[in-house]
Symmetry: C2
């Protein structure tokens, strides 16, 4: 389910891309600078909106890269406008588009580490389940919540996107 | 990965259970009624904290029930205190404790529906990936964010819990 979950995350990046448009629309209706959203946050010592979006993007990008061994594009975190954030989100979607189910073979038993783990490691399976998935949803939901808290007209359907419903 | 993901959700309910204690501690330090937290929300037309926690619990409980066919306990949404919310969270953790990996065999091909889908259905696989997992994380992260926004001293480690790190 690694590939399927990464595809679900890509779908949700597409939703996030639409929330940025909804934010711009609300700012226009209320006559304020839409790029103010980048600095909004829910608590003084929590990430602001721009870093929530950057971290959402990095979480899925790095998870895909670590589980497939395929190099990911580097992003220097210099976004200053909603347009910059659109570009960041779409760049990660394009990177994910280039991966296939076959690339994730053996993902569960890969050895994953990162500098803050001070030399310790996790299996790909544990890393994905305990770290990547919860972190992705943490940051994308905070991105949603910051916009929602600041007036943007988005709801659960904008979060989930279209479901694969069918006739019984 | 259905069972493993449900176990991860159970772990996160255990974290949520601790956030309730952190909320009570902050309320005591600031001398306000800790049960005020139940009504706090991030936007006037979003669920308040009590309903975020109830929906977090229901999302994983109903997902486990629908994917295994095992009846889940009913909860009437009458919680009025942090103690009530502790009980709700722990009841769902106890229900999940009673399920095994074997119970989830065939989960992917089960047919899932709910009243709001107006007669339409999803496969167990699609329902879990597109609906249950994103909704669970949406509501548990909003529960976290409402507390964080209202002064509670919780951070990413409290969200993720202990990771399965090991020596290389």
């Amino acid at each position: 389910m690694y590939y399927e979950t990464i595809c679900q995350m890509k779908k949700m990046l597409g939703q996030l891309d639409k929330w940025l448009d909804a934010a711009a629309k609300f700012a226009e209706a209320k006559s304020f600078d839409p790029n103010l959203y980048l600095g909004f946050r829910l608590a003084p010592d929590q990430f602001g909106f721009v870093r929530q979006v950057q971290t959402t993007c990095d979480t899925v990008k790095l998870a895909a890269s670590r589980l497939t061994g395929k190099d990911a594009p580097s992003h220097p975190d210099t976004e200053a406008t909603l347009a910059d954030l659109h570009a960041r989100v779409r760049a990660v979607m394009a990177y994910l588009d280039g991966l296939s189910a076959k690339d994730f073979e053996g993902a569960a038993t890969r050895v994953v580490t990162q500098p803050r783990w001070e030399g310790k490691v996790m299996t790909g399976a544990s890393y994905f389940l305990e770290h990547a998935v919860p972190n992705f949803f943490f940051h994308i939901t905070h991105s949603f919540a910051i916009l929602r808290h600041n007036g943007v007209d988005i709801g659960k359907r904008d979060y989930l996107g279209t479901l694969s419903l069918r006739a019984p």
